[in-house]
């Protein structure tokens, strides 16, 4: 079934129909309730549009816009307080009222730290030296058939060079006689 065309109701609502067309439209509205409803909706829509016109703000100039943004930022910065801790307030007060006290205290701390560092370093060197065993870098024998073997004894902290192969003698006199004539 073909839908009726009520587009003429918009023309009637806009008061664009004149003469016999207007007479015919009004007559049709009186006889056709569906058309009458359509007409009333058209009229209502126009009333709503008239009551709520579209808002078109005037664009502001660029410099005005940035000036407004800057002012807004400055206002926020001034109103936002910097949080102060109790320690920072105490330090600020002390620094402004007793600067010499602060400087002296800092210097004293630095000197004490230097002393502690030097003392610690010396103690560390001493400890290291105390625990480092004697080391044999090179050892050699010249008497034939003798050999020297170095070793460290951790339990005692001593280092030993063990010479093996030296000739045995029964007493010191024999030993001195032997070695006095022994070329190496």
């Amino acid at each position: 079934m073909k839908q009726p065309d009520f587009s003429w109701t918009a023309g009637l609502a806009d008061q664009q129909l004149k003469g016999w067309r207007r007479w015919w439209a009004e007559r049709h509205l009186a006889r056709n309730p569906v058309a009458a409803v359509e007409y009333r909706e058209q009229v209502r829509a126009r009333e709503l549009l008239h009551e709520n016109p579209p808002h078109q703000p005037v664009p502001e100039p660029t410099d005005v816009f940035w000036a407004r943004v800057r002012a807004d930022i400055e206002q926020r910065h001034q109103t936002t307080p910097v949080p102060h801790t109790a320690l920072a307030s105490w330090w600020t007060r002390l620094w402004t009222e007793q600067p010499l006290v602060v400087v002296s205290a800092v210097l004293a701390l630095l000197i004490a730290a230097a002393f502690v560092t030097v003392a610690w370093h010396r103690a560390r060197v001493t400890r290291t030296a105390a625990t480092e065993p004697t080391a044999v870098h090179r050892v050699a024998t010249t008497i034939p058939h003798t050999v020297a073997s170095p070793f460290h004894v951790p339990e005692t902290g001593a280092t030993c060079i063990w010479i093996s192969g030296l000739p045995w003698t029964p007493d010191m006199t024999e030993m001195q006689t032997l070695f006095a004539h022994l070329d190496s």
Binding site: A129, E132, T141, P150, G157, C160, L166, D171
Partner: protein, 127 residues
Amino acid sequence: MPASAEQLEVRLIRASHELKTTDDDLKPLLPTLKKLFGYEHYTRLGNHHQQKFPPAQRRRLDLGEGFTIFITVTNSDPRGADVEFEWYSGKAALVKSNVRLTPNSPLLVRGPEVGKDWIILALQLHR
């Protein structure tokens, strides 16, 4: 680093089963000597030297009983001293060595066996 004069103690020690006691000045070393050589008692032999050795100077020490030692301190630092030594009995060089002596770590050289005894050379760095 230029070497400084180091104080070294050099002595001969005789380890013997015939001894009844250990010399007083060797008692600090007694545990070490017993651990290394096994003898119960020790006595000092010959001449005892404790003196400063200037750097890079070869020094001859008469240890007595026909023993001599040549010592040269070649370098020293807070941790120890580098020492060259040659231990002689008569004309025979028993041992030649380069060592790094540190405090509290004696160097003991086991030398000739005489009868049932041993002759031991002891070097110690003192600071």
